[in-house]
């Protein structure tokens, strides 16, 4: 049974889902973010929170599709928050501080022609999250964890 008190969602138990991501598979890119959006909408979450969570997750998902061979994404919804964790087997990020700067991008031209790779992804994930953590090892991959609280 679901109901809402104030802005916090009241769930009997938390909801957790995970999805595999395959690098270069643009056709299904964003499916997991759509699913998160649908669930939060059904739970009656505030629209601005839903958009923030979906945008943060979609950006992370697209980074895996664009840069990595594969990865997975998992979201957990509790009455107080949404937690999103994305791990990939990608090239890793050499300089995280630089990658966090708006406009910095290493995306190739074909990615830019599709409308991606503007160097806004990581800053946008941070902007839309209340908590943002990133760890990366060159040659191994990148892990991002984001938390969005219900106000």
């Amino acid at each position: 049974m679901l109901w809402q008190i104030g802005m916090a969602l009241n769930l009997d138990e938390s909801i957790e889902q995970s999805f595999q991501l395959i690098g270069g598979n643009f056709n299904n890119a964003g499916e997991s973010s759509s699913q998160l959006k649908r669930i939060l909408s059904k739970l009656g979450a505030d629209e601005s929170i839903i958009t923030r969570a979906a945008v943060a997750m979609f950006e992370a998902e697209m980074n895996v599709i664009i840069y990595a061979a594969a990865g997975w994404v998992r979201f957990t919804i509790t009455p107080q928050l949404v937690k999103i964790r994305v791990e990939d087997m990608g090239p890793g990020i050499e300089n995280i501080e630089l990658a966090m700067k708006e406009g910095y991008s290493t995306a190739p031209d074909w990615v830019r022609e599709m409308g991606w790779g503007a160097g806004m992804g990581l800053p946008n994930m941070k902007k839309n999250s209340d908590e943002f953590k990133i760890e990366s090892v060159v040659g191994e991959g990148t892990t991002i964890e984001m938390v969005i609280h219900f106000p």
């Binding site: 643009f26 056709n27 890119a29 964003g30 973010s33 759509s34 959006k37 629209e47 601005s48 958009t51 979906a54 945008v55 979609f58 950006e59 599709m114 409308g115 991606w116 790779g117 503007a118 160097g119 806004m120 992804g121 800053p123 946008n124 902007k127």
Partner: protein, 116 residues
């Protein structure tokens, strides 16, 4: 502003109609970079773009965009139309370029979706 008002101003063809009679567009975002759309998202906005691949519809869905306008009379592949129908995001196509389409809507009173 309603879908019909926007379509009239832009002399646009409706490719995917809306089943929401209360659709009320409050702001506009003109971009070919999907990252920019995701960064500057605003509720009840129209997206004016020259990109027509399915990722545009997905980005619109995630960013809460309520209407997509393709410029230069561009017509997307069927897969984009199908996804827009499934997600219930209307699409229209205008003969104007992005600059002129944006200018016409701004002149008609539709503000930008972010900042000044």
């Amino acid at each position: 502003m309603t879908l019909k008002e926007i379509a009239e101003i832009l002399e646009a063809d409706i490719l995917v109609d809306s089943d929401n009679p209360n659709l009320d567009i409050r702001s506009a975002c003109s971009a070919d970079m999907m990252s920019a759309v995701l960064y500057y998202h605003a509720p009840n906005a129209v997206l004016i773009t020259g990109l027509t691949q399915p990722q545009v519809v997905r980005t619109a869905e995630i960013a809460g965009i309520k209407l997509i306008v393709f410029v230069f009379s561009k017509r997307p592949e069927q897969v984009t139309i199908d996804m827009a129908r499934q997600k219930n995001i209307p699409i229209i196509t205008t003969p104007y370029c992005m600059y002129s389409a944006s200018g016409k809507l701004f002149q008609a009173g539709l503000p930008g979706c972010y900042g000044k």
